[in-house]
């Protein structure tokens, strides 16, 4: 120490966070209240009002078509969901599902355009790469602190923290997918006189679709992995059951809630993977 006084990094970050909080207050308020209400309506008034048998049936039918008319995924879906309902965790499952859906959707909506931007510009790639590394390696718990500062407690800060943690794969894979499109195909598109947008939508994105979908799959899985962490700041769902069980040292209920998360994870994973087929692929 001595010559070098401690650099007040922590103070700076706190000050910056407070500054942001103050500057963007109207936006945060809107997100906390209106968006928060919408999430709640989505989970409690819509999803939970669907009869359990109907919900399972719909998911089973979707699974049938998503898996190319095979019955493995259908059977797993039916048994898995029935098990969760049987354990009295249906509401928690719906809340968790809502959190994952919103976090993933927002991540993809933010991630894909950034990925495209990164692919089109070397400079943007150079700037964003360390930012993405930072977002992914910073312990996810840390995001909870500004999330609470901005949005209080509940689902919204949970979605916020999940988005920060889950967006990087979509950005990275979109960038990678577009950059992987063979140079000759890009030249071919150019040689016919495409505009930048035509090249992107008719050649690059369709060709990169598989890679982008792999990134989205990762994003959804990361969002799901945030479920337990987000429940520490009041996000409802299966995560909350895990935390409660942990606090009370109840092994049984803890594992049951954990199974619920695993089941949801497997169903979502298979769904997103099976959607990932490309026209013109050799069977």
């Amino acid at each position: 120490m001595g010559i070098f006084p401690e650099i007040p990094v922590a103070e700076w970050i706190t000050a910056a966070t407070e500054g942001i909080q103050e500057a963007l207050k109207p936006i945060f308020t809107f997100l906390r209240e209106d968006f928060g209400d919408f999430i709640e309506v989505f989970a409690e008034d819509w999803l939970m009002n669907v009869p359990i048998w109907l919900f399972i049936l719909i998911v089973a039918v979707l699974a049938f078509f998503a898996s190319g008319k095979k019955f493995g995924l259908v059977a797993f879906t039916v048994i898995g969901l029935w098990f969760v309902a049987n354990q009295g965790l249906w509401e928690e499952l719906m809340n968790t599902f809502t959190l994952v859906i919103f976090a993933s959707l927002i991540s993809v909506i933010i991630g894909v355009p950034f990925g495209i931007w990164m692919a089109k510009s070397k400079a943007v790639e150079n700037i964003l790469t360390p930012v993405l590394d930072f977002m992914q390696t910073m312990p996810a718990f840390v995001y909870l602190i500004p999330a609470v500062a901005f949005f209080g407690i509940g689902m919204v800060p949970g979605v916020f923290a999940s988005v920060i943690f889950a967006t990087p794969p979509t950005v990275r894979f979109t960038n990678l997918g577009i950059r992987q499109v063979s140079g000759e195909l890009v030249e071919a598109a150019d040689s016919f006189g495409t505009t930048g947008a035509q090249k992107l939508f008719k050649v690059q994105l369709p060709m990169a679709k598989k890679t982008i979908m792999a990134g989205i799959n990762q994003t959804v899985m990361l969002a799901l992995s945030m479920v337990v962490i987000a429940s520490m700041i009041g996000a409802k769902g299966l995560g909350q059951s895990v935390i409660t069980a942990l606090q009370r040292a109840q092994v049984g209920p803890g594992f049951v809630a954990g199974f619920g998360i695993v089941i949801l994870a497997i169903i979502i994973d298979r769904f997103t993977q099976n959607l990932n087929t490309q026209r013109g692929d050799n069977p």
């Binding site: 030249e187 071919a188 006189g193």
Partner: protein, 400 residues
């Protein structure tokens, strides 16, 4: 006016291209410039023009800059200096919008590795150039379909490229390029990735299509046989420079320098040289004017055992042999009609040596080269062998 007119076109890769162009002015070689500046000279002051309906081949080994050159012509690669006039407009100085317009309407490209879009069906590939011009679906499908039928793929339109063989894929590439009816086709090693047999088939087909299309074609290849086969004119490239431009014959017969000479050394001449190149001025007698006596005299003087007989307009009538003529002289006949023989092997001026080779060993007299029944020249066996061996082809260009 030429359709493509390229002047002093250069491409230097890397930073500080300005400095490297200065070295080019000083006449430094590609290696010296690389050593001094770290820049790679892709194309060094290329100048050539391509006339309407011509197949102009740019030929060179890998690294000679030919692929760069063709990409400079449609500006897939930004030229360092020089001009590319397409129909009198300088592509090198165009803004992006006009450049797109020229690419859409006037230039189409066919790629070495086909560059088909794997996620689109054959029909959707073929219509790509029209689709991006926002031509309505029905019309562009119709044109794409016609174009696919032209290359013989009308039945495959709903397949994906991955389901087709290489040769078929390149037909799709060709159909895609032809669908927007461009003036100019740029073909970058279009047939190089194909098997030799398929390659030859595609070359024939291109020539056949060209008969009716009359496009202006810039064709890039590293295969000299291919260049000689399809090119109306050929430009030979080395180290980014064009070392010689000429017709296939000119390049074979008058190589501009050692490099070209070495290049053409191993060429199968039988495919390139034609009757015109090896025929000789024939000794003839006129059936109206000359009798057996005159014919015998002429044959004795020239040391021939037979002689061709024509009429006053050089229409070929047949030939007579020395034996028959002596007989006729003895019998005091006064014309050649009775001893005229007509079992002649006839070829035309553009018959390839390859074919001549096949007929000449059956011929008892020199092969006659005719055009519309008129005798233009004769070919003796020795000339064929000399030409095939590549030694001293005596060009009879003055024969007419």
């Amino acid at each position: 006016m030429p359709v493509i007119d390229v002047k002093d076109l250069s491409k230097i890769f890397g930073k500080n291209a300005k400095k490297a162009t200065k070295y080019l002015d000083e006449g430094l070689s590609k290696e010296e410039i690389l050593k001094k500046t770290g820049n790679t000279v892709g194309v060094n002051r290329a100048t050539f023009s391509v006339e309407e309906g011509e197949i102009f081949v740019i030929m060179g080994l890998s690294g000679s800059g030919k692929s760069t050159l063709v990409r400079l012509v449609n500006r897939l690669i930004e030229p360092t200096e020089g001009s590319v006039m397409i129909d009198g407009q300088d592509l090198a100085k165009m803004d992006n919008k006009s450049l797109r317009e020229v690419r859409r309407k006037k230039l189409s490209m066919v790629f070495q590795r086909f560059a088909l879009f794997p996620h689109r069906t054959i029909l959707e590939n073929a219509e790509f150039g029209l689709e991006i011009q926002n031509i309505d679906k029905e019309e562009r499908r119709k044109k794409a379909q016609e174009s696919l039928e032209m290359v013989g793929l009308g039945d495959y339109i709903h397949q994906f490229p991955g389901q087709l063989s290489g040769g078929m894929q390149q037909r799709v590439g060709l159909a895609r390029a032809l669908a927007n009816d461009p003036e100019v086709l740029l073909m970058d090693e279009a047939f190089s990735a194909l098997d030799p047999l398929i390659r030859k088939e595609m070359q024939d087909e291109l020539l056949e299509l060209q008969e009716s299309m009359k496009k202006t074609i810039l064709f890039i290849t590293h295969d000299l046989d291919e260049a000689l086969r399809i090119g109306d004119r050929i430009a030979l490239m080395k180290d980014g420079k064009i070392v010689q431009i000429g017709t296939p014959e000119e390049i074979l017969i008058n190589p501009a320098n050692d490099y070209v000479e070495k290049f053409v050394e191993d060429v199968d001449r039988s495919k390139v040289l034609t009757a015109e190149h090896i025929m000789k001025r024939p000794e003839t007698v006129d059936i109206e004017k000359h009798g057996p006596r005159a014919a015998l005299e002429r044959m004795r003087k020239e040391g021939l055992s037979s002689i061709y007989v024509t009429d006053a307009k050089r229409n070929l009538k047949g030939y007579v042999t020395a034996d028959d003529v002596s007989e006729a002289v003895k019998n005091e006949e006064d014309n050649l009609k009775n001893i005229l023989r007509t079992d002649i092997v006839e070829v035309s001026e553009d018959t390839s040596m390859h074919e001549i080779f096949n007929v000449i060993h059956d011929a008892t007299v020199p092969v006659a080269v005719t055009e519309d029944g008129r005798l233009k020249g004769i070919i003796v066996r020795g000339a064929v062998i000399a030409a095939l061996s590549g030694s001293e082809v005596s060009l009879n260009g003055d024969l007419s």
